[in-house]
């Protein structure tokens, strides 16, 4: 059997690519290594509906809760500062298994053939076509979309992009606690079962980290990401940092009576397109496999969907590489990811994370006590402001 387009990976990028190519009339194969779409995927589980709606019909989108506030929490060694931002609409907490299945189903409805429990091992040139080698045999296709996720073994093996380095990777761990709906509503102050919350936590103890909390209908997810090089240098395990964060934030009290339902982990890439190539011949890379995650806004699913849809179009039309990469760069969200990278790399440096968390803590504590004293490091602030302006203009 032969396909026009073979998509590797049925996550948000892969399903968006398969849906776009199938809608355009191509014969599409969507390969997934897990037992079902989403079963091997881990994320912070928050999406921006308008980004998903650019590709998928969101009228039946499965969601957990609608985010009504995003809380920013800074914790230094002495105390914490908490800022709550009301959100009027558009931010949604989702469960990845349900979301990814729903995305893959839309691709299937458009005509794509989904095959699960099949791991792609490599892609070989076969005359004008490509041979995709899997653990169940080989299959031929004219174009290939690689939506492999962060561990992009095929893309790296083919040298389309470089390998990941500890200096540019964040290691994240996450726990999901179940709790009944009413208890979640009561403990987090929600007025209905649809209301939800999202926390962003920045801390410095025992190492600098960025944490998160999300709400499902009947569960609460708490997690933390730490620059991998810091873990290696300080010889601290990621779950030790998560335990510290939970202790400091009183999470054990918050989920009291509930039980741990799932523990998971994920590597978050800090580098990628356009310093990585996103294409080779008629092979197009999308999503996490080319580092399309915006760590400033904690958004990876949106850029994955958008890049996947561009990859699907590229495969359908047989774009040359320059054209595909140009189309990626034209997109507002993807441009935002690219522009944010220099600032993110600065902010995830140990000394900078420490500085900002302590700076905000000191400034706001002193203000709360009645006098505002600022420990300004002008050169640092100006440098980051300049980098930030590049991001804000995007």
């Amino acid at each position: 059997m032969e396909f026009d387009v073979i998509v590797i990976g049925a996550g948000p990028a892969g399903s968006a690519a398969a849906l776009t190519a199938a809608k355009g009339g191509a014969k599409v194969l969507l390969l997934e290594k897990g037992p079902e779409p989403g079963s091997k995927n881990v994320s912070g589980a928050m999406i921006r509906t308008e980004e998903i709606a650019k590709v998928f019909d969101t009228s039946s989108m499965p969601f957990e809760r609608k985010v009504k506030n995003v809380d920013l929490i800074f914790m230094d060694s002495t105390g914490k500062v908490r800022i709550s931002v009301d959100i009027s609409s558009g931010l949604i907490n989702v469960g990845r298994l349900k979301l990814d299945k729903w995305m893959a189903q839309q691709a299937e409805k458009a005509g794509a053939v989904l095959v699960t429990k099949t791991t792609a091992l490599g892609v070989e040139k076969d005359g004008e076509k490509y041979k995709v080698v899997t653990d169940r045999g080989s299959i031929s296709g004219s174009k290939v979309v690689l939506a492999e996720g962060v561990n992009a073994l095929i893309s790296m093996g083919m040298k389309i992009r470089p390998d990941l380095e500890p200096e540019h990777s964040v290691q994240a761990v996450k726990e999901v606690y179940n709790l009944n709906k009413d208890e979640i509503n009561k403990r987090l102050g929600f007025k209905s079962d649809e209301e939800g919350s999202s926390w962003r936590i920045f801390g410095t103890n025992p190492v600098p980290y960025a944490g998160f909390l999300y709400t499902y209908k009947d569960a609460i997810a708490i997690g933390v990401g730490i620059p991998m090089s810091i873990l290696v240098k300080k010889k601290i395990s990621p779950y030790t940092v998560l335990d510290e964060l939970k202790e400091r934030l009183g999470i054990n009290e918050l989920v009291k009576g509930g039980s741990l339902r799932e523990y998971s982990a994920k590597v978050i890439p800090e580098q990628g397109f356009p310093s990585y190539r996103a294409c080779s011949g008629k092979i197009y890379l999308a999503g996490d496999s080319i580092g399309l995650i915006n760590a400033l806004t904690f958004n990876g699913i949106g850029p994955a969907v958008i890049s996947g849809s561009i990859a699907g179009k590229a495969a359908l039309e047989g774009y040359e590489c320059f054209k595909y990469e140009e189309e990626l760069m034209k997109d507002k969200e993807i441009k935002g990811v690219v522009k944010a990278r220099p600032l993110i790399q600065e902010l995830t440096k140990e000394e900078n994370l420490n500085y900002y968390v302590n700076f905000l803590g000191d400034a706001l504590h002193s203000w709360a006590y009645g006098s505002l004293s600022l420990n300004l490091d002008m050169p640092r602030l100006i440098k980051h402001l300049m980098l930030g302006m590049g991001v804000l203009k995007a």
């Binding site: 881990v42 791991t119 290696v232 335990d243």
Partner: protein
């Protein structure tokens, strides 16, 4: 909470063939000398897949793996052969 208690929450279908392997055991000894103990792969692994035994070798409990990929990246000697389990085996998340 012990790491084992966290791992009990997960659904696994075990692949009889290990999907993780140390390529050159000698390099782990060298790594321990240079980087100290615990080595980078042991530190970053969220599932205690790696352990340093008898002060001379790494033991790989691949059955615990949550497939995040961190160990391969952290290994300073590129000494970990890292693949996904075959045929959809390995871990399967419900929330993700």
């Amino acid at each position: 909470m012990r790491i084992e208690e966290r791992l009990y929450t997960l659904r696994y279908k075990r692949d009889e063939k290990p999907h993780l392997a140390i390529i050159e055991p000698n390099k782990c000894q060298k790594c321990a000398e240079i980087n100290g103990v615990p080595e980078p792969c042991i530190v970053v692994c969220p599932a205690n897949v790696y352990s340093w035994v008898d002060n001379n070798r790494i033991v790989v409990s691949y059955e615990n793996c949550v497939e995040c990929g961190a160990c391969r990246i952290a290994c300073p000697f590129d000494n970990i052969s890292w693949k996904y389990p075959r045929y959809g085996l390995g871990v399967a998340f419900r929330y993700g």
